[in-house]
């Protein structure tokens, strides 16, 4: 620094051009170092492992991989996963929009408390969610004896798996729709209302079109969560093959049984679904002009 500064033409011994260039050079070094660090981290944790599983799945041939993901157990697991999502996602979408409208447009007592309760599933362990459901609907649970008399089985059967999935994926639509509702405001709704539109008409013609991208984004997140849920479903379902085994449970069961081709194959089905979700999220973000981008 001093050696170079002594050659500087300036009276105060600092050449602004040279020092700026030096800073730039040092800045470029830091920038490239950070780039390498960031990319290496993402590659080591996410891309490397995922690419290896892709490779492993097809290492023994695409035919074998296909056979492994189309066994009766795998197909039933896929069917069950989709069935649960088809029940849970629409229910949460309708509830999410209603809850967002109530939180933003109405004055209900205890609004912050309601908002906190809706967010609660994000802070809960999936195992805890499963346990809570067993304690209500299980044989020795709150409603257990009554359900037993009616001969309705909830735990270790489809209903409890749906309940667990709904619980886990509850917050996403609400969280995406609330900021959009705030942003669009209620001016247009009020105008429609003064012009004689009924509540239903106002909702379908004014509110819904304004918040549709928020809803779609929330539905995408809800679907991803519903398809991928493991812990809560594991606790309530018992994971009986071809009966209460979803695709995520099937992956675990096959892996523990050393059937790696099947475990990798079903994982790839789920990973491809996840990649599709990420692709959709990106398209929607562009379409909806950014919106509130916060993950689970």
């Amino acid at each position: 620094m001093h050696a170079e500064a002594s050659q500087a033409p300036h009276a105060d011994g600092i050449d602004p051009v040279a020092s700026a260039r030096r800073r730039e050079r040092r800045g470029a070094g830091v920038r490239i170092g950070l780039r390498v660090l960031a990319l290496a981290y993402v590659a080591a944790l996410l891309l490397g492992p995922l690419a290896l599983v892709f490779y492993n799945t097809f290492a023994s041939g695409a035919g074998e991989a296909w056979a492994a993901v189309t066994t009766p157990a795998a197909l039933h697991a896929l069917y069950l996963t989709i069935l649960i999502a088809l029940i849970a996602v629409p229910l949460n979408a309708v509830f999410g929009v209603a809850a967002a409208l109530i939180l933003v447009r109405r004055r209900v007592p205890g609004r912050p408390l309601i908002a906190a309760l809706i967010d609660l599933p994000l802070a809960l362990s999936p195992v805890v969610v499963g346990l809570a459901i067993v304690l209500v609907w299980g044989r020795n649970g709150w409603f257990g004896p009554a359900l037993g008399e009616l001969d309705i089985q909830v735990v270790f059967a489809l209903p409890s798996m749906v309940l667990a999935t709904i619980f886990i994926s509850l917050p996403f639509v609400v969280r995406e729709v609330v900021p959009v509702l705030r942003e669009v405001g209620s001016d247009q709704e009020e105008a429609a209302s003064t012009l004689g539109a009924g509540a239903m008409q106002t909702f379908w013609r004014i509110t819904l079109p304004a918040i549709r991208w928020g809803i779609i984004y929330g539905v995408v997140l809800t679907t991803a969560r519903a398809l991928g849920e493991y812990g809560a479903v594991r606790v309530v379902s018992g994971g009986i093959a071809e009966r209460t085994e979803t695709l995520t449970l099937h992956v675990e069961e096959r892996f523990q049984g050393f059937d790696y081709v099947a475990a990798y194959g079903s994982s790839m089905v789920l990973a491809v679904l996840a990649l599709l979700v990420v692709l959709l999220m990106n398209l929607l973000n562009r379409k909806g002009g950014g919106g509130g981008h916060h993950g689970p």
């Binding site: 447009r105 999936p126 304690l135 239903m200």
Partner: protein, 276 residues
């Protein structure tokens, strides 16, 4: 969620006086109760089935304490690594230009969309006993940390990124033209402005790590006092039909998660007030 939203203080015309509205609120409340409130009440009821002393005994059980302590320790490590690496990734994605940046940016969300069991399986494929590079983290605490790092990766990145995007670069340029090196610019100008967002992301990552289950199933050996974390302790108590023990530790875990979120959001507000 505050009442700051537009139109919050205007007279309600849209839904207030309609006959259908109360029914809508009623149905929403019923749904909320059936799905969330009643199970949580049953969980709390289960935890206190044997009164306060029963609850206390269940959470001060040696194995439970050791599992909870290990969970806190590993989550804290994961949170700190996330604070550093999340900020680095966010900085690179916002300030750096290189081919493929858009793709990397999109893929950061993948751990949110990827089923947890698949996340664990992919890590085990590369770093497990059958992996090609000769590293084996299966049944170790390092394996747990790795899985937690993967599932919590997006939190800090996604909370720091928007702040960096909006940040005025004039301040940095002013500091640099006054002779500050990149390091000084970072520690004195960039970092204080990012700190609230980093803390916010850390809170979410910590809370997620505390309860994580699916990504650890294939990786942990689940050995009490060694690598058993709290969610697995709860699971093992459910399996052995000790519902009070499972529910009590569940309540403890929930309280820990909520207090961490509250404390970190208070810290977030404090640092954002003192940043500028």
């Amino acid at each position: 969620m505050s009442a700051r939203g537009m139109g919050a203080d205007r007279p309600r015309i849209t839904f207030g006086r309609r006959a259908g509205a109360p029914i809508g609120v009623g149905v929403a409340v019923l749904y909320m109760s059936l799905i969330v409130l009643i199970p949580l009440a049953a969980l709390t009821g289960g935890a206190f089935e044997g009164g306060w002393s029963g609850f206390w005994d269940a959470i001060t059980n040696h194995q439970a304490l050791s599992a909870v302590w290990l969970t806190i320790k590993l989550s804290a490590i994961v949170m700190l690594i996330n604070a550093v690496m999340g900020t680095v990734i966010a900085w690179v994605l916002v300030r750096d230009r290189f081919p493929g940046r858009g793709i990397v940016n999109s893929l950061i969300d993948l751990p949110f969309a990827l089923p947890t069991i698949v996340a664990g399986l992919t890590l085990l494929a590369l770093y497990g006993p059958r992996g090609p590079i000769g590293i084996n983290v299966a049944f170790t605490q390092a394996g747990i940390v790795l899985a937690l790092l993967l599932v919590t990766m997006p939190f800090v990145v996604r909370s720091v990124q928007p702040v960096l995007l909006e940040m005025d670069r004039d301040m940095e340029q002013a500091a640099a033209s006054l002779g500050a090196g990149p390091l000084t610019v970072f520690t004195r100008v960039i970092f204080p402005n990012l700190l609230p967002a980093i803390i916010g992301g850390c809170g979410l990552a910590f809370s997620r790590a505390l309860g994580e289950f699916g990504s650890l199933v294939l990786i942990t050996g689940n050995i009490p006092f060694q690598d058993q974390v709290a969610s697995f302790y709860i699971y093992s108590q459910i399996e052995s039909d000790n519902r009070t023990g499972a529910a009590a530790v569940s309540v403890l875990l929930l309280v820990l998660s909520l207090s961490a979120l509250l404390a970190l959001s208070a810290l977030e507000r404090f640092t954002s007030r003192h940043a500028r």
